[in-house]
């Protein structure tokens, strides 16, 4: 096992050997996987934890009375405790397993927003937000007759907070929703002032931490937010599992989101009562093994150390921004390296991102091209799409070199 003590600087080259995906050539070339913000690769430790669980401990959870059922339940609840620790949540029963951050944010929008929003109220989001923390609020606000206000970006693509007073004058702000790290530009937000403002308005603060969880140490108590959602697949865990953390008193007061088995206390023809949290929000059989995989991913990240991961990404971002600036006709978007996670969006003059990404594939380089589920942001940048290279704990500088060489080749094709 290549994982190391958390205080050390991480050794990406050594960590890479934990990831079976890199044991192959793509189009005859070593794989430069620069699309981790889209989805991260999985270490053997996560894959093994899931396989072992299937082979030795699998049964349904919370109902089987036999030994396998007990083991299975211990596995799922053990994973919940690991996620609690990862988020520094006060209590594991405030951690709800969901499919992904999107489902977690929809849960809050439907369940909290669906009961608490009305005419004269407002939901505030930012132009930098992913569609997952934008569209559900736009939709639920409209359904409830509430205002939907969007904090714009300034010329430097930073959120402009100057309109907050006006919003507070105009409406009764009930929800403020924003991401901690932008999936498109990598911007690490300082949410403190916005969280304080939200609470001064008596609003709840809903944090999309899907892109933050892989890169920065999370602490829901220090952040002071009311809800926070993460996705397993972006942080070395499997797809199909994520977590929503919410304040216990809020979760207990809320209506359920999905209904059915497991989430009830008692059911009769006349009346159904809800179970305790987190079960109230976990109808049906859970993604049990995926949760175990997420728990293993948390273990993996904590052994590498989130501080070491963040430092590694700042280093890679600085290196990438420097190397990419050498490419003629390139436009780079987003903040300086010290305020960005390992995400770099860019465009080549006169060459559509889809053409760039397709040609790079032939050079063994995988990047994302498109709007990154951030169409309002793309509009603000004045583009329909960007190229995005994103890095993670297993990324080495040679992959960035391979990207830069590939971009020179792309320019040659279009010359």
């Amino acid at each position: 096992m290549a994982v190391q003590a958390s205080s050390a600087k991480l050794d990406a080259r050594a960590l890479r050997s934990d990831f079976p995906i890199f044991e192959q050539l793509i189009h005859g070339k070593p794989l430069a996987y620069l699309d981790s913000a889209n989805s991260s690769q999985k270490p053997r430790q996560v894959l093994d934890a899931m396989t072992t669980y299937y082979e030795t401990s699998y049964a349904n959870v919370h109902r089987a009375v036999y030994v396998l059922g007990e083991r299975a339940t211990a596995g799922l609840e053990g994973a919940r405790e690991k996620v609690r620790g990862f988020l520094n949540a006060p209590s594991a029963d405030e951690v709800i397993f969901v499919r992904n951050a999107t489902e977690g944010l929809n849960l809050v929008a439907y369940s909290w927003g669906g009961s608490n929003l009305g005419r004269g109220d407002a939901v505030v989001v930012t132009e930098l937000d992913h569609h997952s923390n934008f569209v559900p609020w736009q939709y639920i606000a409209r359904r409830r007759g509430a205002e939907f206000r969007v904090l714009p970006l300034d010329e430097d693509a930073e959120v402009d907070y100057s309109g907050l007073d006006e919003i507070a004058r105009d409406c009764n702000v009930k929800v403020v929703a924003a991401n901690l790290v932008s999936n498109s530009l990598g911007t690490i937000a300082d949410l403190g002032p916005l969280v304080r403002w939200a609470h001064e308005q008596g609003a709840i603060f809903v944090c999309d931490a899907a892109q933050a969880a892989p890169h920065v140490q999370l602490d829901v108590q220090a952040l002071g937010v009311d809800f926070l959602a993460i996705s397993g697949h972006k942080m070395c865990g499997p797809s199909g599992i994520g977590a929503l953390w919410g304040r216990g008193e809020l979760l207990r007061s809320m209506e359920p989101f999905l209904l059915g088995g497991h989430m009830i206390s008692s059911v009769s023809i006349e009346k159904t009562t809800w179970g305790e949290i987190p079960h109230k929000f976990e109808a049906g059989t859970s993604p049990i093994v995926e949760a175990v995989g997420l728990g293993a991913a948390v273990d993996y990240l904590q052994r590498v150390g989130l501080d070491a991961i963040e430092a590694h990404e700042h280093e890679l971002a600085a290196y990438a921004l420097g190397r990419l600036a050498e490419v003629p006709g390139i436009t780079l978007y987003g903040p300086p390296a010290e305020r960005r996670a390992g995400v770099v969006s860019f465009n080549l003059d006169g060459i559509h991102p889809h053409d760039v990404a397709q040609l790079l594939d032939g050079h063994g380089v995988a990047i994302r091209a498109g709007h990154h589920c951030c169409q309002p942001l793309m509009r603000r940048l004045g583009v329909t799409a960007t190229n995005r290279a994103s890095f993670y704990l297993y990324t080495v500088p040679e992959e960035i070199d391979q990207l830069v060489d590939g971009l020179h080749a792309v320019r040659e094709v279009f010359a």
């Binding site: 060459i351 889809h354 053409d355 397709q358 032939g362 329909t384 799409a385 080749a409 094709v413 279009f414």
Partner: protein, 144 residues
């Protein structure tokens, strides 16, 4: 430059940089606008019929987007010139793909057939014929 880069350059870039049939037709007999929401490609197609009201006399397009979407539409304008609207409205996409001639992943396939799909929608609208199954949602979602 690898083999794929070469093919891209030779086949796609010629049409991308010097698109045939680029422009608009005032008072076109058939027109439609298509978008590929995935990458923001846009294509508008304009068709003028001959005296028989069926032969494609002139076809023009305007738009912006990736090289594949724009080059494929340029190739398409050459391919359908002089053929009948009835025939083109059910043109097999493989004919266009053979003309493009480079291997395309499923995502790029959407870029490649954007112009053809838009043209088919334009022709069906002009003729008042119902859109084939595969195009019904396309029209509702993406076309004006």
């Amino acid at each position: 430059m690898n083999e794929f880069d070469q093919m891209y350059r030779e086949v796609i870039l010629d049409h991308y940089k010097n698109p045939r049939g680029h422009g608009t037709i005032d008072g076109a007999d058939a027109e439609a606008e298509g978008q590929n929401p995935l990458c923001g490609d846009e294509v508008s197609i304009y068709v003028a019929f001959g005296d028989d009201g069926d032969t494609i006399d002139e076809v023009k397009f305007s738009g912006r987007g990736c090289a594949i979407s724009q080059a494929a539409t340029s190739m398409l304008t050459e391919m359908v010139q002089g053929r009948t609207a009835t025939e083109v409205a059910s043109l097999d996409k493989d004919e266009l793909l053979a003309e493009i001639g480079i291997p395309l992943t499923p995502i790029r396939l959407k870029c490649a057939v954007l112009g053809l799909t838009t043209l088919k929608v334009a022709l069906h609208k002009a003729k008042g014929t119902p859109l084939p199954d595969g195009l019904a949602g396309f029209d509702e979602l993406e076309l004006s």
